[in-house]
Symmetry: C2
Subunit: 519 residues, 2 copies
């Protein structure tokens, strides 16, 4: 495998699964050309005039869609770890004797461990999409036939839109749908919130199958997925386990260290002057973030300040902000708990967004860069502020990218993380896998202090005299190494075997993931 | 000009404005191939990270968009006869010295008479789009440089989607917008309801300019037009005259003849068994249709029946149906009065649709064919049930097609019309211009009786014994000729000079419009 060195000094393969790759050129350096992909032109003459596209079962739909060896099949992670449909789908594909599928999920979860047998027997050739947990471990150990490709949510949209990934058949799990294929995730027994991750697939795939366990009379409203893009509708008894599709409630951290991090974030954004009328932010559903929201709310109330919009993943904490009048809008990309789902159904100002609106870098701007500050996590951060979200220091690929890369363009990107986990430092001299370049990462907030990127002199100035524990990142690095008894052991990697590559938001390759040698 | 004969026996030119044409082949006979058009791939690196795309004025936006001689510029008729923007746009184009523009409006109105000087001086080469009133007269008299092309709303979407019409610059009038280009028509001083006719343009045009007289902080919600498709935003003092953009209220007819027609429609759909739980229909905003709605409501209430959905053009009469619980949904393509606009803003179940969802024939089905019955008008109907909506019997092109052709695929298509107008018969032996083939037209309802297409034996059976004045169309034809003293005089046409062509919903040419010879 011929390797190239990219603009951040990482080695990346010239070709991946037979496709030529462009090495990462630097932020905003790639000049895309050409036109967006187009789905095949269809005619109403080929579709039932009464709009009823229901076919007997998944197998029939796949047959009608012309499923063949080597095709690309896409699925989505809206059902998270409660997803039964994707496993059912590949059981069906296997039963049809089909081989060498490129599986293109928006993400995979531990529940998809079921599919390892299909990776072994050649039903699935390789996975392009985030691999959380067991599938990542399987890939890390060099067991997958092809090379994995990880993209951010925005990068996945970009790849489909730009024609870099051509989807033959998209299979969309729809918690509610009508016979025409209009579909929504915000209601039904398997409600998951929204279906934005399937938007690109519905627009660009050659064939689109909607599977639902809650068929309603036309029209299914809202139509998060438009029936006009759908070929076949399939009824299934159940899409999965509702309790794993969505949490009853998301939970604030109780760890004193993590609560301290949350408090530091709140104090930092206040000191930096972000909390003012009309501001915006994005914070996910992790325990630290939820605690931060509680502190932030108190500060907003004390100051009498209202946000213009907040970006989800939504949780009951964001919903409270909306319903208490602390923000005009929630612009939501993914609902994490039942209150998020309810609010999306009931509140005009709880808005359904998508990787197109929020994250696509090959668009005419996107929402991510308009946000005042974003609070994210990481598995590792290094002395150059480069960060990793996909591998651990032992080299294992265990997490997806999600919207993380896309969010880095916010006006102030904050990584909030404990300085070590299981006595392994999180602040390292060099990240195992480089997923986000340090020039986009502005602030690191840990329980032992806050490091500000030296490029952000404005932020350094703003928080001067605030009493916050501002430190150089080198100082945090030293402190953590002392506590943990030294740097993490370097992973045992086979540098001759790339098991996956990490795409940047523009489709270039920013780093490689190598096979882990078992001891 | 070489002429071909199409499947309905009409002569059509082989080429129009240098582009080769496909003659109409029969309903559903064209087999489209290839892929949908794609807009150029852009990068966020070229757009302001804070999302602010506002430029100084229309001229600056046009310059940045690279306006050149011969380009195609699209506009939309959401502002109807109150539109000031399109005139302002062409004043600007003229002042820039640009020539030979193909103007591609979704429709034009009498207010655009202002543009005749630009058709004369070569600023505009020709119009592709419906021409209502003065522009139609100008074209009919052979004064336009190029040949006009008329399409239905769905046909316009199809032509853009299929790459048949490539738009260089789309200019979208937005009653409310934010600096990112998100736009809505349902609020603001120039509120018009929705912006669905600009949807295709926003997706497929090379450059998209949003012009607004009501700039709001991001996010503008709802985003009927997505800022992610927009290049430039321009503030203008006023988009036009609100009283001509939307009516205060739409008015029911007071003519006894027309009230009788409305009553017949209501009795016919009742007798035919359409009024039952879960039914659907579409009826526009003409005086007959509004009167029909009143009769229909009474019948629905008497029967205790609820519709699943009704299709607008919405008016206060449809809104009343929604708010009184007589329908679950309004699926609205165009709001005609202030109550329609208010309801679209306030009611979750008053749904914004588009030519993509409702009318595009080169899609995976559309809403139009799912509707139980539709009530439409016409300028002429002939003995074969063929109908005309664009020219009068004197040959003058004075009306657009609107969604009329697209609606013909409903389960029962009813044309409701007076049997004569100004003592000129509306039922004729052969239509001047064939816009809709008789095989799609099921019922003609006039004040003198009802004619059912002999192909629809089911309908003939259903209303047998209803006491309704069912007649053969030939009988209506004879009666009307007697009243009017004979058939309409044949128009004086120059058959060697095609001034416009009429497209069918699949992009083929169904008929030609000829130059009218002045006496």
């Amino acid at each position: 495998m011929k390797m190239l060195t990219n603009a951040v000094g990482r080695k990346i393969p010239q070709e991946v699964n037979g496709q030529k790759q462009t090495p990462f050129l630097g932020i905003g350096k790639l000049r895309p050309s050409g036109r967006k992909a187009g789905a095949p032109i269809r005619t109403c003459a080929d579709y039932p005039p009464d709009g009823n596209k229901v076919v007997k079962n998944l197998r029939t739909a796949l047959e009608k869609a012309g499923l063949k060896d080597g095709m690309t099949i896409s699925t989505h992670h809206h059902l998270r770890n409660g997803d039964a449909l994707t496993n059912m789908l590949f059981d069906t594909i296997k039963s049809m004797g089909i081989k060498n599928i490129r599986w293109f999920p928006s993400a995979s979860f531990p529940v998809h461990e079921h599919l390892i047998k299909y990776l072994k027997d050649g039903t699935i050739h390789h996975i392009e999409g985030s691999m959380n947990g067991p599938l990542g471990r399987f890939v890390s150990e060099g067991n997958m036939k092809g090379v994995g490709i990880l993209r951010s949510h925005g990068g996945r949209y970009q790849a489909i839109q730009d024609g870099e990934v051509h989807i033959d058949i998209a299979v969309i799990a729809a918690p509610t749908a009508d016979t025409f294929g209009n579909a929504t995730g915000d209601r039904g027994p398997s409600a998951c919130g929204l279906l934005g991750f399937a938007l690109a697939d519905s627009i660009y795939a050659d064939n689109v199958i909607v599977a639902t366990d809650n068929l309603v009379p036309f029209p299914c409203v809202p139509w998060q997925i438009q029936g006009n893009n759908v070929d076949y509708v399939v009824e299934v008894p159940s899409l999965g386990d509702p309790s794993k599709i969505i949490s009853g409630t998301t939970k604030v951290t109780r760890s004193p260290d993590r609560l301290l991090i949350a408090q530091y974030i709140a104090e930092f954004v206040e000191a930096a002057g972000f909390i003012k009328d009309g501001f915006s932010f994005q914070a996910g559903a992790g325990g630290i973030n939820l605690a931060f929201l509680q502190y932030l709310k108190e500060k907003m109330k004390a100051k009498g300040v209202k946000a213009r919009f907040v970006r989800g993943g939504s949780t009951k904490y964001l919903v409270e902000m909306l319903e208490e009048g602390l923000t005009d809008y929630i612009l939501d990309g993914q609902t994490f708990d039942l209150e998020g789902v309810r609010s999306m159904r009931e509140n005009f100002n709880h808005i359904n967004t998508s990787p197109f609106t929020s994250y696509n870098y090959h668009g005419k701007g996107n929402f991510a860069s308009m946000i005042d500050f974003v609070v994210l996590g990481a598995t590792e951060v290094d002395l150059n502020f480069n960060a990793n979200v996909v591998t651990h220091s032992d080299g294992y690929l265990l997490h997806g990218i999600g919207g993380w890369q896309n969010c880095l363009t916010s006006k102030c990107t904050i990584l909030a993380l404990p300085s070590f986990r299981d006595r392994i430092p999180v602040i390292v001299d060099e990240v195992t896998t480089l997923v986000g370049p340090g020039e986009l990462i502005d602030v690191i907030i840990t329980e032992r202090g806050i490091a500000i990127n030296p490029n952000r002199k404005d932020l350094l100035r703003a928080v001067k005299g605030s009493g916050l524990p501002i430190k150089k990142i080198e100082q945090l690095f030293e402190e953590v190494n002392q506590i943990c008894g030294g740097k993490p052991a370097k992973p045992l990697l086979n540098r001759d075997k790339v098991v996956a590559v990490i795409k940047w938001v523009d489709g270039t390759v920013i780093d490689s993931v190598y096979q882990v040698e078992k001891e």
